[in-house]
């Protein structure tokens, strides 16, 4: 039977792909979206046996062919024989129980409805052939395209008519073919088909791009076992059962069964995106039975049979068995490596959103963690920390779980577009009103007395005076057709074209947003949201990878009251330039060492030069402290060049690396000893090995904020080295030495304000006797069973006192280039930036300081779960109580802070406010009862920092602001944990160019660096907003004007619905005469140059206030179009009612042509009037349009008068507005009016890339006033640090690759309390 299940399952694939009509007993159709109930059947895969698998396919194929042929024969057979034939065919042996897909056709056949049956059978044959052929071809190829050649037209058209506007015009077009229409059908059909054509071309183009993406992925190469060696084949040729080799950092080409790995214990590490986010590694473990199949020779011997479930979309389950050597071994998800790479989840196809459930409510509360697992996808898994793995392909192509999960999510629409919908609705209202007036008028007007109208007894209904109600109804319909031009048909397509060009030509090709190092240009992944970029008010930013590079570098230090290190941080550079000094690039000393974690330059300390400094002894202590007081493990060869330090935090690694470079090379750690190779200590150039006995390690934790090591020198000296936060160290310093303390404190502040992370170093010499007595207490504490930690802390206090200050270190948590200045610029633009990070509070605060989001003049509201009360409750362990206590305290604090904030707001010059909240508290603060308060408080704060938040919470915070405050939000992030936030916000921006693709795939725009945000928003966003607003208001204006002239005319025609303009004029008005110029405007209009846009970021506020698309603005336009339409109609009709020079009179069409000309000229002149900049493109278009009409008409007098009289009001308005109520951009225009606009990218092009944007940016910061910060960033809080030592479970830590790897190998040990 198994053979048949195989066939059936393969068939299920075919059926699903195409016909839902044919059903299959064995499998059920799998729909996308929710997890489907498991199909009862399963499939079998023969590993490493293409023939066997092919046989399955072949059987399917041959069966289909056979059946098709049989049916074809049937067609030729006599209809009377058919039943017999059929019976025989059903009984015939090949594939025993055939699936019954043809029931339908057969039943028809029995009815002997020959022609219909013919068709059906033929259809079925073709279908079968296509499917059986393609199923073999498709293999592992995936397709994310929306259409294919056949479905393009019907499906594309269907998509188009789902738009209300298009449907409306379709209705109008249909109406216009009926006799009630005053216009010929061409009037409506021509523009509609043009619009559809353009849209379809665009669709086709985008789908073509998707197709090419698919092809690129399908053609990526992978190693497959063929015979006894690995052969590279493209992904698409991969088949079920193939044995593949995936190398480190490679992607899994299909869903694989994990067989073997180069790691000894059969594990591999994969990077996935999941709840606790970041680039968290997961461990997969192969079955022990298969560990050996690693080499090609061995792997070729692998002959297994996998029985597994049917393809489904559940990412977290997998059921199946591996039958190997007649042994059946159950498989778990732990052995399955999922395909992850679907680059072409391009424009429309998106991963389901994590944050919003169907009714738009925010998902809240702890219970939702489970449910949201289903949504957040493991889209990005790739192999890490493993040389390579070998796996067998289970599911390929469309059957992979990730593909089963991809579904169409409606793409985001911009807020402006939604407002546009309202405008359109208003226009519908106006249309209704106009039609109503006209219809009533016509019902009253119609009368037999107008004998020349021929209203005889058998007159058609529309003009029948005996049934005025019917006249009313029909005229209403007539007028709708006539006034349909009030809805601008080409508006949507014009906007789409504009946006499309904006994103593909302007945003994607902006050299200012091209990142040279990673060779990444910006990319707009959707063209829907360009103008949304011009209205963003809140930015939610991830920290690691977005604001920072997650790179800690030893940058400066202060030893014995002397600052070393000549480096200048970005923040300092900005500050210096503000004060007038120009800090060029620091001249690098010759022989500068720069390695990972070390970016220090001061010849006074390097190469032993510290010996000549005034305080060499302190230096020595400093370096020893760095080399000894840590918990770093050295790995690899014990030479300074090759050694690798495995540290809990990159800070520590940086410090030890620094010690190494200063000549104190820590190279070996044993449980009791630390070996340091010291240079230049006694004499310059002398190298000696020193080993220090480590007596005790006093661990770091978040309350102690320090770490100490007691060590014994080879000469018997016992020293306690301590490093920690300045506050805790200063409390424990010995008396005296105040001068040093003060100087060092000054240095700490200096470092802190430069955005550096500081640590104070101190030591204490211990006498042997005092140490011994203390050690007894320590051992006692360590062995105590209750409250051990607390006791250890208390004991540590006893010895960590009377310390001698050595100095302090400053580590740069390297920000991405240009981040502080970009943030300054953005905040000047009225954009509020919130940092949402998984990091600890101190880190987050530190970065917030470094990014100048927070400074010491701000009032900081801190809501933290790190209070004593909460901690005590947690120790008691009652979860319910903990929850209650946290909630209570969160409520109290929120209330208190809110009152305080409101007080500050009432005072005139209150301080700026900042809110800092951690994830645990946030969970409760997001509770519906407290949400309002939280929102209120946070909207009053200049900066908000949320730390230790989960991806889900990031999304919740985003939608809190998006929905609660109805502000336009932007999320920016780089990792998978930001995906939900990126999708929740109005605009999602992904950081591209680094390893993770998930954020980019979920995003709407991808940029390489955070700093490009200022270009994206302030330049492109602002321009787009301006342009789109202009285009929309202009469309509104021109169509209203045009329609109103018709409306006025109808008063004079007895409300009969007679058209004023010629059919062709009317249809071409929208698509030719006025459409092209406005597209040009939408592409090229520029109020102020890019340079000025960034120089005056405040201009952006006009977008936030939506200054250009408000009711008032639209109202003014409406007023002027009202005015102009009156002018057109009455001026033209009055002036043309007298005779011409030859005595002849103008007829109807002469008058209307004149009016039309005037309208077109005026409307185009109006466009010129609203242009901020006129390029040669403008000229061409405008004059082309005008010229065509000029040659047709010579009524220059009217021609001169009407446009001027019509535009009279507009001109005055524009002048007066500019003069007396100017927009900000107009003032800026004026200020810089006479400056030639240089082409800055010309310089970019000539000078080579990296310099000039940098300078431009630092210049921008230099404009700002800034307070000096008294913050001293304390560094002992890097991500992962606590996790290394944390003994409690459940602490949320963003894990790093090395961390996981390390823990994986130290699993047994890490559970134990750390030993000294």
């Amino acid at each position: 039977m198994r053979g048949w299940e195989k066939v059936g399952s393969s068939r299920s694939n075919l059926d699903r792909a195409g016909s839902t009509a044919t059903t299959n007993r064995i499998t059920s159709t799998v729909r996308l979206g929710r997890v489907e109930p498991q199909a009862p059947g399963h499939r079998t895969i023969f590993c490493n046996d293409r023939e066997a698998n092919f046989l399955v396919r072949f059987k399917v194929l041959s069966f289909h062919l056979y059946k098709s042929l049989a049916l074809l024969c049937l067609l030729y057979a006599d209809s009377e024989d058919s039943a017999k034939f059929q019976a025989g065919h059903n009984a015939s042996p090949p594939p025993p129980p055939p699936p019954p897909p043809l029931e339908e056709g057969e039943s028809c056949w029995k009815e002997s409805h020959v022609p219909r049956a013919w068709l059906r059978v033929l259809r079925d044959v073709v279908k079968r052939l296509i499917f059986s052929l393609t199923s073999g071809v498709r293999g592992n190829s995936i397709s994310t395209t929306k259409y294919n050649v056949l479905t393009f037209l019907p499906k594309g058209l269907f998509e188009q008519f789902r738009r209300v506007a298009n449907l409306y015009f379709l209705t109008i077009s249909i109406l216009s073919t009926t006799p009630i229409s005053p216009v010929s059908p061409i009037t409506n059909v021509a523009p509609l088909s043009l619009v559809l054509l353009v849209s379809l071309i665009k669709e086709a183009f985008e789908d073509w791009k998707r197709f090419q993406n698919d092809m690129a992925i399908n053609n990526a190469s992978i190693d497959v076992l063929q015979g006894h060696k690995w052969v590279e084949i493209p992904w698409r040729k991969l088949q079920v059962g193939d044995i593949v080799k995936v190398k480190q950092d490679g992607f899994f080409p299909a869903d694989l069964l994990f067989l073997a790995s180069t790691n000894p214990d059969g594990v591999c590490y994969i990077e996935t995106a999941n709840l606790d986010g970041e680039t968290n590694l997961k461990i997969r473990k192969a079955l022990e039975k298969t560990w050996d199949y690693l080499t090609p020779d061995k792997a070729s011997e692998f002959k297994g049979e996998i029985q597994c479930e049917q393809p489904n979309n559940s990412l977290y389950t997998f059921t199946g068995n591996l039958i190997i050597q007649k042994q059946t071994i159950p498989l778990t998800p732990n052995q399955v490596l999922l395909r992850d790479f679907v680059l072409s989840v391009m424009l429309e196809k998106r991963i389901p959103r994590a944050s919003e459930d169907c009714n738009g409510e925010m998902v809240l509360g702890p219970d939702d963690r489970e449910t949201s697992i289903g949504h957040i996808l493991e889209v990005g898994c790739s192999l890490r920390n493993t040389e390579y793995i070998v796996g067998a392909v289970i599911f390929t192509g469309q059957e992979t779980k990730v593909m089963m999960n991809s579904m169409n999510v409606p793409s985001k629409r911009s807020t402006l577009e939604r407002k546009l919908d309202k405008l359109i609705l208003t226009l519908f209202g106006a249309l209704f009103l106009m039609c109503l007036i006209g219809a009533i008028g016509s019902a009253i007007f119609i009368n037999r007395k107008y004998f020349y109208l021929g209203l005889t007894a058998d007159v058609e209904d529309q003009f029948n005076p005996d049934n005025r109600f019917l006249v009313f109804i029909l005229t209403f319909l007539t007028l709708i057709t006539l006034y349909s031009t009030i809805i601008p048909i080409s508006l949507y397509v014009s906007i789409e074209m504009i946006k499309f060009i904006q994103s593909t030509q302007f945003i994607n090709k902006d050299l200012h947003m091209y990142h040279v190092e990673t060779n990444t240009p910006a990319s707009a992944r959707t063209s829907n949201l360009n103008e949304e970029l011009g209205q963003v008010e809140y930015i939610f930013s991830d920290k690691t990878g977005t604001l920072t590079r997650n790179l800690m570098e030893f940058f400066k230090c202060s030893i014995g009251g002397e600052v070393y290190g000549t480096g200048i941080t970005e923040i300092e550079r900005g500050a210096a330039q503000r004060n007038g000094g120009n800090v060029g690039k620091a001249q690098k000393s010759p022989g500068l060492v720069h390695e990972k974690g070390f970016n220090f330059d001061d010849a006074r300390l390097m190469c032993g030069a510290w010996r000549n400094e005034p305080n060499p002894d302190t230096c020595k202590e400093f370096f020893r402290c760095l080399a000894i007081c840590h918990t770093v493990l050295p790995e690899g060869e014990e030479s300074p060049e090759k050694i690798a330090y495995q540290a809990a935090s990159p800070d520590e690694a940086a410090l030890v690396t620094a010690a190494k470079i200063f000549g104190f090379f820590f190279y070996r750690r044993t449980p009791t000893m630390i070996h340091v190779c010291e240079s230049h200590v006694e004499k310059m150039g002398k190298v000696e090995d020193m080993s220090y006995e480590i007596l005790n390690v006093l661990e770091f934790n978040s309350t102690r904020k320090r770490q100490s090591v007691v060590c014994r020198y080879p000469n018997g000296r016992i020293v306690l080295y301590c490093k920690g936060a300045d506050t805790v160290i200063y409390e424990r310093l010995a008396d005296g030495g105040n001068e040093l303390k003060n100087i060092t404190r000054e240095h700490l502040e200096q470092f802190g304000s430069a955005g550096l992370r500081t640590l104070c170093l101190a030591y204490r010499d211990l006498s042997s006797s005092s140490y011994e007595s203390w050690n007894e207490k320590f051992i006692q504490a360590k062995s105590s069973l209750r409250d051990r930690e607390k006791k250890l802390d208390e004991v540590a206090e006893l010895i960590e006192k009377d310390l001698t200050l050595i100095g302090c270190t400053a580590i740069e948590d390297k920000l991405q280039e240009g981040v502080p200045s970009c943030i300054e610029t953005l905040s000047r633009a009225g954009i509020k930036i919130w940092v949402l990070t998984g990091d600890k509070m101190e880190t987050a605060i530190n970065i917030a300081y470094a990014c100048s989001l927070i400074n010491n003049d701000m009032k900081q509201f801190i809501i933290s779960s790190e209070s004593n009360e909460i901690r005590e409750a947690e120790n008691r362990g009652d979860q319910v109580e903990v929850a209650r206590i946290i909630k209570d305290s969160v409520r109290k604090e929120l209330k208190k802070y809110l009152e305080e904030a409101q007080q500050y707001l009432r005072t005139v010059s209150g301080p700026k406010l900042a809110l800092l909240i951690d994830g645990k508290c946030l969970m409760y603060a997001l509770d519906p009862t407290l949400r309002g308060m939280l929102l209120n408080l946070s909207l009053n704060c200049t900066s908000v920092v949320c730390c230790r938040v989960s991806p889900l919470q990031k999304a919740q915070v985003t939608s809190l602001v998006k929905k609660g405050a109805r502000k336009i939000t932007l999320s920016i992030g780089d990792g998978a944990n930001d995906v939900s936030m990126i999708q929740a916000a109005h605009v999602g921006v992904g950081i591209s160019g680094l390893e993770g693709m998930q954020a980019v795939m979920a995003s709407d725009f991808a940029i390489a660096q955070f700093r490009f945000l200022s270009d994206l928003l302030l330049v492109h966003g602002r321009w787009s907003y301006h342009r789109i607003c202009k285009v929309i208001t202009y469309f509104f204006y021109k169509n209203l004007t045009f329609t109103l002239t018709q409306f006025w005319f109808n008063f004079q025609t007895g409300f009969s619905g007679q058209r004023f303009y010629d059919d062709w004029f009317q249809s071409l008005y929208n698509v030719i005469f006025t459409a092209l110029p406005v597209v040009i405007l939408g592409l090229f209009d520029k109020d102020v140059s890019a340079k000025l846009s960034k120089k005056y970021p405040e201009l952006y506020k006009e977008g936030i206030r939506n200054a250009f698309f408000k009711k008032r603005v639209v109202g003014i336009w409406a007023f002027f179009s009202f005015h102009q339409s009156l002018v057109f109609y009455f001026f033209v009709s009055t002036s043309s009612s007298s005779s011409q020079k030859s005595g002849k009179m103008f007829g109807h069409w002469d008058v209307s042509t004149m009016a039309f000309t005037c309208a077109v000229v005026t409307v185009n002149l109006r466009l010129l009037l609203m242009c901020n900049s006129i390029t040669k493109w403008h000229y061409n278009n405008e004059f082309f349009t005008i010229y065509v009409l000029m040659s047709t008409i010579c009524f220059y007098l009217t021609f001169l008068l009407v446009p001027i009289a019509a535009l009279f009001g507009d001109f005055i308005f524009q002048g007066v507005q500019r003069w007396f109520f100017p927009y900000d951009y107009q003032i800026v225009q004026e200020i810089h009016r006479h400056e030639p606009e240089h082409s800055s990218s010309m310089q970019l092009l000539e000078m080579g890339p990296p310099l000039s944007p940098d300078e431009a940016r630092s210049y921008a910061i230099a404009q700002l006033p800034r307070e000096k910060s008294r913050h001293t960033g304390f560094a002992f809080d890097s991500p992962g640090y606590e996790s290394f030592f944390a003994s409690q479970a459940g602490v949320y830590v963003p894990q790093k690759a090395w961390d996981v790897a390390r823990r994986a190998s130290m699993r047994s040990r890490s559970k134990l309390p750390p030993k000294s």
Binding site: N213, I217, A220, K247, Q248, D249, G250, P253, F341, L343, K449, F451, Y452, G454, F463, T478, F506, K509, D510, L511, Y514, N519, K832, K912, F1049, T1053, G1054, S1056, G1057, F1084, K1086, A1090, S1133, S1135, S1137, S1139, K1141, S1142, G1143, K1144, M1145, G1147, V1151, N1172, I1174, L1197, L1201, I1204, F1208, F1211, G1215, W1219, D1224, I1227, E1230, R1233, S1239, S1241, M1242, L1245
Partner: protein, 345 residues
């Protein structure tokens, strides 16, 4: 990083992804900024004023030079006993037996140079009504082959099963009052009725070999009849009539008088008042008018020009005053909104 990301990028990866520079994509096309500054506003207004006022004066004086005599006759040309009610009027006009001739005398106020155009003017006549406008068959008018192409002409499309040429309401309701003129008692004035229609109509719209057929044969007579021997392109009255007017009040050219009329000449118009405007309370007038470069009498253009010009001058003056009195807010950074009202945040 290996794997498909690099592979997917394919060959493009080897080269740079750096976008190519072009003025277009960098949005740096050279452009001029038309800024509506106060100076520009003042200048433009002044210039408009300077151009418009002379133009206005010129066209107004031209319009004044035009001599126009207008006489409304629809009531006067009905015998007094029939004038009482509307029904009586209708009865009179529809009665084919009644004598509908009527004489009007007009006095020439000023010397009128030839050509003097004779118009008839109708009021409250909706030639632009949709039912009316579309009741025409352009094909039929143009070519004899499309004689039966009369579907759009209902209800005046056929009579007794034969197509009407020209069909439709417009043709059917052809104006049929006729005028003849005598000057200063019995010196008759010839009215030239050629070349009163548009040339394009004669040449393209109305066929040279399409002859009236079956026209006004029905029970209801709408208006004038046509000589069936003359092709449509020769029926100038028809052509004038069929160029429908845009407004419910319109004039149509009747003919030209090609002699000088001296001031105080008395023109006797003997007219045949047969066209029914009484049922819909329409008005009929006869108009004699000269024309010059501006066309017929048309004060509107001149007045409009002068008004607009004057307003422009006035505004220019106002703006100049304000401009000199009060400095512009433009060019002054202190007027930037973020400088004037620093927000709460």
């Amino acid at each position: 990083m290996a794997g498909p990301s690099s592979a997917a990028a394919g060959s493009a990866d080897r080269n740079s992804n750096r976008p190519k520079y072009s003025q277009f994509s960098q949005q740096e096309l050279s452009a001029c900024q038309p800024i509506v500054t106060p100076k520009l506003v003042i200048t433009v207004f002044t210039v408009i004023g300077i151009i418009f006022i002379p133009l206005g004066i010129a066209s107004l004086s031209a319009s004044n030079d035009v001599v126009e005599i207008s006489d409304r006759y629809e009531t006067e040309c009905i015998p007094a006993e029939n004038r009482t009610t509307k029904d009586a009027k209708i009865q009179f006009i529809q009665n084919s037996q009644s004598d509908k001739t009527c004489t009007r005398s007009l006095t020439v106020p000023k010397h009128m140079k030839p050509p003097i155009y004779v118009y008839y003017q109708l009021d409250n006549y909706y030639q632009n009504h949709r039912r009316y406008v579309k009741s025409i068959s352009d094909q039929q008018l143009r070519s004899p082959g499309s004689e039966n192409d009369t579907s759009s002409c209902k209800p005046e499309n056929e009579e007794n099963g034969a197509s009407i040429v020209p069909c439709g309401l417009i043709a059917w309701s052809l104006f049929n009052d006729t005028y003849s003129f005598t000057r200063n008692n019995n010196v008759s004035l010839t009215v030239n009725k050629t070349d009163i229609s548009w040339k394009s109509d004669r040449e393209h719209k109305f066929g040279k070999d399409v002859y009236p057929k079956n026209f006004q044969n029905g029970s209801l007579i709408g208006g004038a009849t046509l000589k069936s021997s003359i092709p449509l392109s020769g029926q100038e009255d028809l052509m004038v009539w069929m160029r429908t007017a845009a407004m419910p009040t319109f004039r149509k050219l009747y003919g030209r008088i090609e002699v000088d009329l001296q001031a105080n000449d008395v023109i006797e118009v003997s007219l045949n008042n047969t066209y029914n405007v009484y049922s819909f309370n329409g008005k009929k007038s006869i108009v004699l008018s000269t024309a010059n470069w501006i066309g017929g009498k048309n004060d509107f253009l001149g007045v409009a020009y002068i008004t607009v010009g004057a307003i422009c001058f006035f505004l220019a003056a106002c703006f100049t005053y304000i401009y000199l009195k009060k400095p512009s807010r433009l060019q002054d950074p202190s007027y930037l909104t973020w400088n004037t009202n620093p927000g709460p945040l």
